[in-house]
């Protein structure tokens, strides 16, 4: 067992060696530009890109013409949200009242920040407040729909807590009301089944490096029929990707994304099963051995491989320091020196203290049961050690309600 153990697969994954293998020739002997129509170098590259497009489309239940390659989910989200807003705007640039957009407070910044930008440009945005379980339902979206709503963007699975929103239901609602529906499926696609038709999706973002593919490549699904979705391009130039995303294609990256998508499709069932069992084992071990522990988000409507756990009466940064053989994320952004608790946990109503002391563990293809047992052991031991040091845990055991103490905040 190599240490530190990697349990941060929601941040990024290790590239599968089979993916690397598939990519390598496209750096060297097959280096052509798929835009070169006049010689075999170009044709070989174009073939490879089209194969990858088919592989990604197959993963999503889409037609290959509906797949646009991008540099990752951030770009896919930007293109989908800004591109749709601009295309379906109800008033020209420079005026207000250009249309209404619905999203949620616990979306990724790569959705929230484009929405904020659009607010400055004359659009109105509703940020749905998630319930305590973190799950956005179609009813909640229905309650926010207006006559001038042009776009709904709700992620499929949340990157911090793994909760699953009712994407098929929200999509059905949007189609009924003639509103474009985008979903950021970065944490979902490749891990869980997608059928863009059954799931009523118009636009879907995904990323290579979250599915054992390379970094710097992703895809945007853009529906072509019922309805035909059109986007205003953000990046303009050579007119590649049907004019929606200009720029010479990242052929090795795209080949890698395609190979990664094909492997995910093939191994999805078995992997879901295996990782789900491992995550349950991890959670159970921790919960059985420690008191004052809370798993954040809906108990069942969440990804099989991800868990977010808060530990009462210990502080997050010292917990990370104690768990020094485990690479994972914490719910507190101490690393940026801002000491801001996670806005995702906050939006669910998790208190600042529990948000600060939360850990996100995300399992992946290369993790083993041995690693899970080691990690659970180190976490339990660390929490115990820190609670021995914690004046708050003492007070709790003495029956003192620490929320009733007048703390001198500094």
């Amino acid at each position: 067992m190599n240490k530190p153990i990697y349990f941060d697969n929601a941040a990024t994954t290790r590239c599968d060696p089979r993916v690397v293998e598939a990519m390598l020739p496209y750096f060297t002997e097959k280096f052509g530009n798929p835009g070169s129509r006049n010689h075999s170098f170009g044709w070989v590259a174009e073939d490879a890109v089209e194969t990858a497009r088919r592989q990604v489309a197959a993963l999503l239940g889409a037609d290959r013409k509906e797949v646009i390659f991008t540099s990752g989910a951030t770009e896919s989200n930007n293109l989908a949200i800004k591109g749709a807003a601009s295309m379906y705007a109800k008033a020209p640039a420079g005026s207000s009242g250009r249309g209404h957009i619905i999203t949620a407070m616990h979306e990724h910044k790569a959705v929230l920040d484009p929405c904020k930008r659009l607010q400055k440009e004359g659009f109105e945005v509703t940020y749905l407040e998630p319930p305590a379980d973190g799950v956005i339902t179609a009813e909640q979206v229905a309650g926010a729909l207006r006559d001038d709503t042009i776009l709904v963007t709700i992620m499929w699975a949340n990157n911090e807590i793994g909760t699953i929103n009712d994407v098929p239901g929200i999509g059905a609602l949007c189609h009924e009301r003639g509103v474009i529906f985008h979903t950021d499926a970065t944490q979902w696609a490749g891990k869980m089944p997608v059928d863009v038709n059954k799931d009523n999706i118009d636009l879907l973002s995904m990323s290579g490096h979250k599915i054992y593919g390379p970094k710097g490549v992703g895809a945007l699904y853009v529906r072509r029929r019922r309805p035909r979705v059109r986007l205003t391009a953000i990046q303009e130039g050579g007119g590649q990707e049907r004019g929606m995303r200009s720029g010479t294609l990242n052929v090795p990256g795209i080949v890698g994304l395609g190979a990664a998508a094909a492997l995910c499709a093939e191994e999805m069932e078995a992997e879901r099963e295996r990782l789900g069992a491992m995550r349950r084992r991890l959670e159970t071990t921790i919960i059985e051995q420690l008191d004052e522990v809370q798993v954040n988000g809906h108990p069942d409507k969440r990804l099989p491989h991800l868990t977010n756990i808060s530990f009462g009466f210990v502080e997050g940064e010292s917990l990370m320091m104690a768990c020094k053989d485990i690479a994972m994320s914490s719910g507190s952004a101490c690393t940026s020196a801002s000491l801001e608790p996670s806005y995702v946990l906050k939006s669910l109503g998790v208190g600042d203290e529990l948000a600060h002391s939360s850990l996100r563990l995300s399992l992946g293809r290369f993790n083993t049961e041995e690693e899970v047992d080691f990690a659970a052991g180190q976490i339990v031991e660390s929490v115990r050690k820190l609670r021995d040091l914690s004046p708050l845990y003492d007070m709790h055991k003495e029956g003192i309600d620490i929320t009733k103490i007048e703390w001198a905040a500094h």
Binding site: G316, E317, S318, L339, L389, Y393, E398, A409
Partner: protein, 136 residues
Amino acid sequence: MAYSEKVIDHYEHPRNVGTFGTQKEIKERKDIGVGLVGAPECGDVMQLQIKVDPESGKIEDAKFKCFGCGSAIASSSLATEWLKGRTLEEGESIKNTEIVEELSLPPVKIHCSVLAEDAIKAAIEDYRHKNGIEHD
């Protein structure tokens, strides 16, 4: 974030962890002064207790508990080491900058040393208050 060797040493082997009794017992003991500073929602709470020998007026023992990051734990652990054997006046003269220097705390962690200084002052003040000692 990279921690200095001294922070890691205090974090892994904290000195003088503990309390001289439950919150209730401590309140009634005149030979003990307590400083409880910080706030849970800010991510650090320090509890520093000093035991004073009434004869000599010196701090004969000190204990701490800390909810906070590694630097906060190290700062309070170091404070207990430095306090032992000092008079109240000497204890009071400990400056946060000395803690920063000893532990090589980076700028983002200076607040941990400030908190330790506050805890020292609060514990000494509590002892004086309990014993009716006037001090300017």
